[in-house]
Point group: C2
Chain length 232, copies 2
DNA sequence: TTTTAAACCTAACATTTGTTATGTTTAAAT
DNA sequence: ATTTAAACATAACAAATGTTAGGTTTAAAA
């Protein structure tokens, strides 16, 4: 297992990393601050794209409504992530929605400004398109997990992914803070059934739960559940 | 339900439709014929991209190996489909493999020739990138189905999709001809358990099976299993 | 054609997951 | 601080799915 987390991470926080200092300045000065309250949406499925977003603070879920009502969460964005560019490149409508899980501080680049940036910074377009290709592979991996793993394993894998994504940047360890419904909508089960798996992990000492926050105590045990080599 | 099938179809057989006659000629004269025997692969996960492919005859499966061995099929290509361009745009390696389900007749455009075409035909690049965005939405829909639907419903939806994809072009109705293992690897179950669902559909008169080929007799019943408005 | 291996079908039993129901805790609103 | 609604935990039972094993059919190889 070369790079477990990269297989499931869009890595859209690294999109501007390849730029020079002056190019980065060009991008950052083009940004407009935006405040999105918890529960509101940055964009809607079928909506017309207006620009791209970077999360400065807070978390957001990318969702697609299944055709029998319920919503499927297929990604959780965290601070630093850039999003909303797929539809822009394709000159089409949004394929999915993005909803704030907390109050968000966002940097926004309007469509026209973004296209001007693409022209003036030659490497930028390829960086974005390359990332779309990578994200395509991430979705394929998520498909494989949902199709092949049982509920315990799906929970295990997603706990590892979310724990890594939520806590890689910050110094202190904050665990995983999501509603049971959201977590259930990620791993593809009901909140009640999810509770059963969480209880099982608690009894094994793999996790500790305080209020609704999940803290991982034994990563190795989670990896073993996936029958994988450990490498973290 | 506006367009059920489009939600699950890459529509990569339409990529050249927007071109003028002379542009199409440019593309078609750049193609080299290729023969791929059943069971061989057009390209491999982690491999370096060499060009793009169009299936002239035959079917191929796009697969991603899950990290505990087994393969996940997340798309079946049919005659007319263009594929292999994701990795080319991103200047990266293939994210997945593509294996011939039958002997294939393929048209191949080498990487350099393809890039030259992109330069000389301005609309081509946007058409391709737009389609990658569409395919992204298709994968998100597949994720929603795998996460939210039980086995009967997953089989029902995939029978509808495959039946449409395999039989929309040709005059005669050939049903769905796949090994039980491949079909199980699409809907995310074991061949034995798949057999149980197929038997159930047979007993209800929804399908007829001859040899291993599945013929749909009652589309409406399959749509009803998905609790959807019928529109076909 | 005959042989051989792979694919297929089915059933029985074990395990997992879905569903319903009830009570408790937590967070939001007054 | 008090009230109210949402979120959460748990258990019991029903239903779906996984797994193992047997025999049959089909397609490939000799």
């Amino acid at each position: 297992m070369k790079d477990f987390y990269a297989q499931f991470d869009f890595q859209s926080n690294l999109l501007f990393d390849a730029l020079t200092v002056s190019e980065k300045n060009k991008v950052f000065t083009a940004m407009e601050p935006l405040f999105i309250p918890k529960g509101s949406r940055l964009f809607y499925e079928e909506g017309i794209p207006t620009g791209i977003f970077q999360l400065k603070k807070g978390k957001a879920k990318k969702i697609k409504r299944g055709f029998s009502g319920s919503e499927q969460i297929f990604y959780i964005y965290t601070a630093g992530d850039v999003l909303g560019y797929h539809a822009l490149f394709g000159e089409e409508r949004y394929q999915d929605s993005c909803e704030a899980l907390e109050d968000l501080e966002v940097s926004f680049i309007p469509k026209d400004v973004f296209f001007a940036l693409l022209k003036s910074i030659p490497t930028l377009q390829q960086t974005f398109i390359k990332n779309i290709g990578h994200e395509f592979g991430v979705l394929a991996n998520i498909i494989a997990v949902l199709a092949q793993k049982n509920q315990h394993a799906r929970l295990a894998i997603n706990l590892l992914i979310l724990d890594h994504r939520f806590n890689q940047q910050c110094q202190d360890y904050n665990g995983i803070d999501l509603t049971r419904e959201d977590l259930a909508n990620i791993i593809g089960t009901s909140p009640e059934s999810l509770g059963r798996s969480l209880k099982h992990f608690r009894e094994q000492g793999i996790i500790v739960v305080e209020k609704r926050v999940i803290y991982i105590k034994n990563k190795q045990a989670l990896f073993q559940l996936l029958q994988m080599e450990v490498d973290f």
